[in-house]
Amino acid sequence: MYRIDVRDIIGGGALIAFGALCAFVSAGYGLGTVRNMGPGFFPMVLSVLLVALGLAIAVPALMRSGTSIEVQWRNVLIVTAAIVFFGSTLTTLGALLTVFLTILIVSFASALTLRQAAMTGIAMAAGIWLVFILGLGMTIPLTPWSY
């Protein structure tokens, strides 16, 4: 579509930026000498390598067209929301309820009907109780009243 490969430019650019950032921070830790390497030596070498590789990816991308970037935004968003929900409510609602609700949330990204999701949620809550709490002995509060 375009005359440049946007995907690799972004990818290479991100590597260059990250590498440059790490190089900057590494220098602050003291490089030392090759014989007596400071904490920043190895990270600096790697950061420079990363920047070089980023350039090797981004520069040729300026001269050719490339593949388009495909992102399933809806899926990424829903899965992230489900995870954030889990992390926020696990300690208040307990494992069983949180697992059930998390599965309901993430099912919006899947082909499951609400009923199928509810069944999966119940099954997973039960399974997790069996395997992780009974089987492995993890001490996770199960219900909102376990506090």
């Binding site: 790490c22 090759v34 990363l50 590789l53 980023g54």
Partner: protein
């Protein structure tokens, strides 16, 4: 005869009820993972990592290993019955396995792939038993410089055969190495890259990275998948029995596949997938009638299945004896050992003999268990293929989240998983393979330590890497691989440009 004593000790370790139970769990899970398309051994092992915190290291590694080689047994099931590979290494089995099923020979195909897997697995274990003490003995003469060269070789080799651009794979390796420096530097006690955040002072946790990239990202990629398959036929035990001719036709391919698998599995960078492709190509080359391939030639499934199992077992050779993981999956398994304070490598055989030989003995037990699971009990796995895939990924998410919480009982870790998952998805969208990152991440600390030691010993003289013969040899091979990769990239671009012009 010391070998026999070690093996007996190993057998004693692996037959303990606790360890045996985890072996069974491992191979059952492995078969399950292998049978189901959509999730592979790498994701499964990453998900199991937090669970290994709660059990002893021998049981942990026996279970994870069982998942790994078990998945190579089960993976052919979907390939044969649905023309969908159960794991990437079983893609080749679709080519002749599915036509066999269409001709009504699905049962026989399943039987032969199991036998082939057994042959390959046993070959791999035997290679491990005989090669391990030899390699460990040779490695005694390795200095820090040789280890650096070996690790660099392993890392570069894994990028050469990675799918997609080798330059991007190399970038991922370097990124992984860089990320491994985050946290407290053991040499000086200084916390690196913590940006003032206390939680980062311990560095990044391999469990979080593996679960985030191979768990959460995979969920994000696949959550909408809606595969629902129906099977046309029932697999009875009788339908599985092959004719005498079919058995005879399979013998040599299984042997050839096993040898190819052992060699390619032991080399860093190549693994079960490459091994299966190569052995398929070899079978086509040596066949008297190559036109049979693609239409249900039994050699086309026997050999790849033997070689992917042989490769899976042989992959343990460099991992256990030298501490060099040949693939991301091996790296994650090494991570499990490192979490328990065990550093895989030459010293492991001496310091942890019961774990080392117990693991090897468990391979024997596991392979036998897998034959039982895959032949008489094949019906169970086949019926699982009819379960729609949309149930799988929400379930995996629940496992990821509980497991992730259980590592430190910290909800911060859960949010970290979300972040890593998004970043992992970003990498995938931009065309980067995550596996090399994990390799770099696991080898990073060891690489830095050995590089530092080598420089200390040589008083800052970099030519030490060229002076010492083994190091020089490894670096020359590494350079060769790099040049081949670059040449391949340039040639690919030139061809694409010519195609556009004409």
């Amino acid at each position: 005869m010391e070998l026999l004593g070690n093996l007996l000790m190993g057998l004693g370790t692996s037959l303990q009820p606790a360890v045996l139970m985890y072996c069974v769990i491992g191979v059952v899970l492995g078969t399950f993972i292998g049978v189901l398309p959509g999730i592979g051994p790498l994701a499964a092992i990453s998900l199991l990592l937090p669970i290994t915190f709660h059990i002893d290291p021998t049981s942990a590694i026996v279970m994870l290993a069982g998942v790994y080689y078990g998945s190579e047994y089960g993976g052919s099931t979907a390939s044969i019955l649905l023309n969908i590979p159960g794991t990437t290494a079983n893609a080749v089995t679709c080519l002749d396995g599915y036509p066999m099923a269409q001709k009504g020979r699905a049962g026989v195909a399943l039987f032969i792939t199991t036998i082939g897997s057994l042959g390959g697995g046993i070959a791999g274990v035997l290679a491990l038993i005989f090669a391990a003490p030899l390699i460990v003995a040779v490695s005694m003469s390795f200095g820090a410089a040789e280890y650096v060269a070996l690790m660099v070789f392993g890392l570069v080799a894994s990028t050469a055969v990675a799918t997609g651009s080798p330059v991007k794979a190399l970038a991922m390796v370097v990124l992984g190495l860089l990320l491994s420096t985050w946290g407290i530097d053991l040499n000086t006690g200084i916390s690196r890259f913590d940006f003032g955040v206390v939680k980062l002072m311990d560095g990044l946790n391999i469990v979080m990275i593996a679960m985030g990239i191979f768990g959460v990202t995979e969920i994000m990629k696949n959550i909408s998948s809606d595969r629902h398959s129906t099977l046309r036929e029932r697999i009875t035990f009788r339908s599985m029995l092959p004719t005498r001719q079919e058995l005879r036709q399979s013998g040599k391919p299984i042997a050839r596949g096993s040898i190819i698998g052992v060699i390619l599995g032991a080399l860093p960078g190549t693994g079960p997938s490459i091994a299966s492709y190569v052995s398929y190509a070899v079978e086509r080359k040596v066949a008297k009638d190559p036109s049979r391939f693609g239409k249900g030639a039994i050699e086309g499934i026997a050999s790849p299945e033997a070689s992917n199992n042989a490769a899976a077992q042989a992959a343990f050779i460099p991992t256990l004896t030298l501490g060099i993981p040949g693939s991301a999956t091996m790296a994650v398994m090494m991570g499990a050992l490192i979490i328990h304070g065990i550093q895989p490598g030459p010293t492991m055989m001496v310091e942890q003999p019961s774990l080392f030989w117990g693991l090897i003995a468990s391979f024997f037990i596991g392979n036998i268990l897998l034959v039982i699971l895959n032949i008489p009990m094949i019906g169970i796995w086949v019926s699982m293929l009819t379960v729609p895939s949309k149930y799988l990924f929400p379930a995996i998410l629940a496992i990821v989240l509980i497991g992730g919480y259980g590592v430190h009982y910290s909800t911060f870790d859960i949010f970290l998983l979300a972040i890593i998952g998004v970043i992992g998805y970003g990498m995938y969208a931009l065309g980067f393979e995550p596996a090399p990152l994990l390799l770099g991440f696991v080898l990073g600390p060891l690489l830095e330590q050995n590089f530092r030691r080598a420089m200390l010993l040589s008083r800052g003289d970099l030519t030490v890497f060229i002076e010492r013969p083994l190091s020089l040899a490894l670096l020359i091979i590494t350079a060769g691989i790099l040049m081949l990769s670059v040449w391949g990239v340039i040639r690919g671009r030139r061809r694409a440009r010519d195609a556009l012009v004409s």
